[in-house]
């Protein structure tokens, strides 16, 4: 349930392009044709699904305050979180290179379709943004981090696919000359973002309810425990 909620939340409510404007540069630059947009979108899903969990591990076991305590008690006081930018970007850059080499070796056809986009991706804000949001939202488990990376990638993919399709069609309409190209793309993206805002209420309504349930459930649990304690004392 937790997974399903995060999945839909990252695709629709917190969509990377429409809610936080991540990866706008490549979104605008590579959305002239649907086929290239699909290639880049697939590469983004792929790289996000790899780098977010990896950076989660880094964050949990090296960077967070007290994360080094697995090395021994004398390391428990270190707080390396100021290094997270440089560690995250280094991980992303190396992973992108590694993925490029591996894909080229094992699947030349995939390399031909993704290959030219991979180097672009190292400097795509969506990738680093995914890792930084993962850190600031304090995602609790590795599974959820994987889910978060994958689903925000899908959200980005949907966004670029939609705008590429619209841009292919808009060629046939009569746009004011000064707005042609970039200007109209901005305005369409704005309108799409307004549309996506309507997803906002989809999950928040459920969330509040759930929290209530949780508190009432914990109260019940506490009560039960008290009863048990009481029982024990009776038996004794």
């Amino acid at each position: 349930m937790e997974h399903l909620e995060l999945f839909f939340k990252s695709i629709f409510v917190d969509n990377m392009v429409f809610a936080t404007f991540l990866g706008m540069c490549s979104y605008l630059a590579v959305s002239k044709k649907v086929s290239t947009a699909v290639g880049l979108g697939a590469a983004v899903i792929f790289v996000l699904a790899i780098t977010v969990p990896l950076n989660w591990l880094l964050d949990q076991y090296i960077l967070q305050e007290g994360a080094l305590s697995w090395l021994g008690p004398e390391y428990a006081n270190y707080d390396l979180s100021f290094l997270s930018f440089i560690m995250f970007i280094a991980t992303i850059a190396t992973m992108v290179q590694l993925v490029e080499i591996v894909v080229e070796k094992f699947s030349p056809s995939l390399y031909n379709s993704l290959g030219i986009f991979l180097p672009l991706i190292a400097v795509n804000c969506a990738i680093l943004g995914g890792s930084l949001f993962m850190q600031s939202r304090e995602i609790p488990t590795l599974g959820l981090a994987l889910n978060y990376g994958f689903s925000s990638g899908i959200g980005w993919f949907l966004a670029i696919l939609a705008i590429a399709a619209i841009r292919e069609k808009i060629r046939y309409s009569n746009v004011p000359p000064a707005l042609r190209g970039l200007g109209i793309t901005f305005i369409i993206t704005g309108l799409m973002a307004i549309g996506f805002m309507s997803f906002g209420g989809m999950l928040t309504g459920g969330e509040e309810k759930k929290e209530e349930d949780k508190t009432s459930a914990t109260i019940e649990m506490v009560k039960q425990n008290e009863d048990k304690v009481a029982d024990n004392t009776n038996v004794k």
Binding site: F18, A19, T20, F21, L22, G23, M24, C25, L28, A29, F82, L83, S84, F85, I86, I89, A90, A93, T94, Q97, P119, A122, V123, N124, C125, I127, L128, G129, L132, F133, S136, I170, R171, P176, P177, A178, L179, R180, G181, L182, G183, I184, F186, I187, T189, G190, L191, A193, I194, M197
Partner: protein
Amino acid sequence: MGLLSKKDSKLILDPLADNNPITIQVLGICSALAITAELKASIVMSISVLFVLGLGNVVISLIRNIIPAKIRIIVQLTVVAALVIIVDLVLKAFAYELSKTLSVFVGLIITNCIIMGRFEAFALGNGPWRSFLDGIGNALGYAVILIIVGFFRELLGSGTLLGYKVLGDPIEKTMLYSIGYENNGFMLLSPMALIVVGIIIWVQRSRNKALVEDH
């Protein structure tokens, strides 16, 4: 200008309008849109980018002949990341509230396309002084758009500028509000940033027909 030759001053003045990094080169859009709901945040963001881009361009230009071409992206990212960490720590120390509002977007200066774009396009092929000017010029061009967008969004969205209530007090109904003016809360939402930038592009391109694209 006595200090700068004509060629050098062109480096600074060009990006302000006709070769603006945001509206013409389409670089660095992400941060331009996300943090412009307040004028103050836009100004701080512009200063941070000015610092990172100015210094980063100089550093890259100094080491441009020793970087192996194959790993240059990683080297560039490391330089930017180091500079951004400095900015982030300074912001956390002196403007903690603001660094909370900017949240991850300070970190995202690393992947701000303006920076990598200028490194690739300019600093790798020019000397340190010219690269410095180019960096400053492009950062100023970026700042101009950020400040225009931030100005309109804060003024129309919450009726304030830098936190001062320039249009009067909405609760006590003074000045403009006394004749029935209302804030447009919609301006504070993210989609409006896109539309405001779209309008800026529109205005700029209708003034200068040479910039109009085919499609």
